[in-house]
Symmetry: C2
Subunit: 230 residues, 2 copies
């Protein structure tokens, strides 16, 4: 009887120990499992974001100028069209610009490329808020598209300085930045060695948006003094 009395608590204790151990393992497994699932869910959108921000580079010159009909009307009716129907650096750049849904800020030294100007006018006519900053001396140069922009009602501002407003960047919907050595000229498209980097890096987009806003306010015609100096 004494032996039986001793054996019962020993059995109970061993059983409780075993149950606690199993419950502990179960709780730990569940914890680790839930944690790993949560982390993988967290990582998924981050990966997607990284993919979105991967920058793209376009190098110029293009061998041929992109066909305007092909670019803006989706097809070309000419039998022997001399312009490019395949993708070129210019056509890629124009497609990126045409992605704008709300705003397009253009800050370019000189603009005489009609294809790029047409894309800007199309966006303006589609209701996108377009602002253009440029260099005062380049505005009057041969083939400049600035006068066309103004005729179409696009807001344009320029410096008043013997130095250059030499930037060559654009910001699309405050989400994408286009920047590089590339002026928006025909010579840059089919002649020069040029580059354009397209990025959605948030830090870069913000820095260039701030620079644009700073210059936009600085070149406000209402803020000009009588001597014209800003």
């Amino acid at each position: 009887m004494a032996a039986r009395c001793l054996s019962v608590p020993s059995f109970e204790f061993s059983r409780i120990l075993r149950i606690s151990w199993i419950v502990g393992i179960l709780v730990h497994t569940t914890y680790v499992f839930i944690k790993s699932v949560k982390e993988s869910v967290k990582r998924a959108p981050q990966k997607e974001q990284n993919e979105q921000t991967a920058p793209q580079v376009l190098f110029f010159p293009d061998k041929l100028l992109a066909c305007r009909q092909f670019l803006f009307e989706g097809g070309c009716s000419r039998r022997h069209c001399q312009f490019a129907h395949e993708e070129t650096s210019l056509s890629k750049l124009i497609r990126v610009l045409l992605e704008a849904k709300q705003s397009l800020d253009v800050c370019v030294f000189t603009i005489n490329c009609r294809e790029l100007a047409d894309a800007v006018v199309q966006l303006h006519n589609d209701g996108v808020v377009v602002r253009v900053l440029t260099d005062d001396e380049q505005m009057g140069s041969t083939g400049s598209q600035i006068e066309k922009f103004r005729r179409e009602g696009i807001q344009v501002r320029h410096d008043l300085s013997s130095f250059f407003m030499h930037h060559k960047f654009a910001i699309i919907d405050r989400k994408q930045l286009v920047n590089g050595s590339f002026n928006w000229t025909r010579q840059a498209v089919t002649g020069n060695r040029e580059n354009v980097v397209i990025t959605s890096d948030e830090g870069l987009v913000k820095a260039f948006s701030d620079e644009f806003q700073k210059l936009w306010e600085k070149y406000d015609p209402c803020r000009r003094t009588q001597s014209g100096v800003l």
Copy 2:
């Protein structure tokens, strides 16, 4: 007796089941634990890499030209120095260039800024392999530093074209890219509105390194035809 014979296998079976279950949980727990540790180890350097690749932007003009003594000798002995001793966009750019340990590839339309040229020469004298690509017409312009580079034994190549070799980029140790609207001129430093983006994005560095190598080979003087056209 018959009852005892039946109860033994039932007890054995239940025991084996319990043991298998516990072993299964143990193996699974160990697997999940090892996997999560491995993933966290993998993520750590990736995070570090992301931090390294955060791009930097420099905007010009600087209010003052950076003091050369301050930049290259670590201090200025002049009492009333008219140049900048605080950090400027130019001084930051020069410090980035001076980080080069093995190679510096410069591909810039026009170079007449002595401060930038001095940094390039210093790197060359320190044993860094420096290569310079530039525009043929700009080489002869007032203040061009290209002749100095050649005197110092730096390898220089240029296009032979009526179009512009209009890039403005440099690659440091094939790890960092410097690119933007900024020509390496004094006017660009203290006069113009300009930008320089400094990035270690692997895709961008590779794309620009490939472009540099392509042009370096294309402008090899040994490959020129009699007419001089490349």
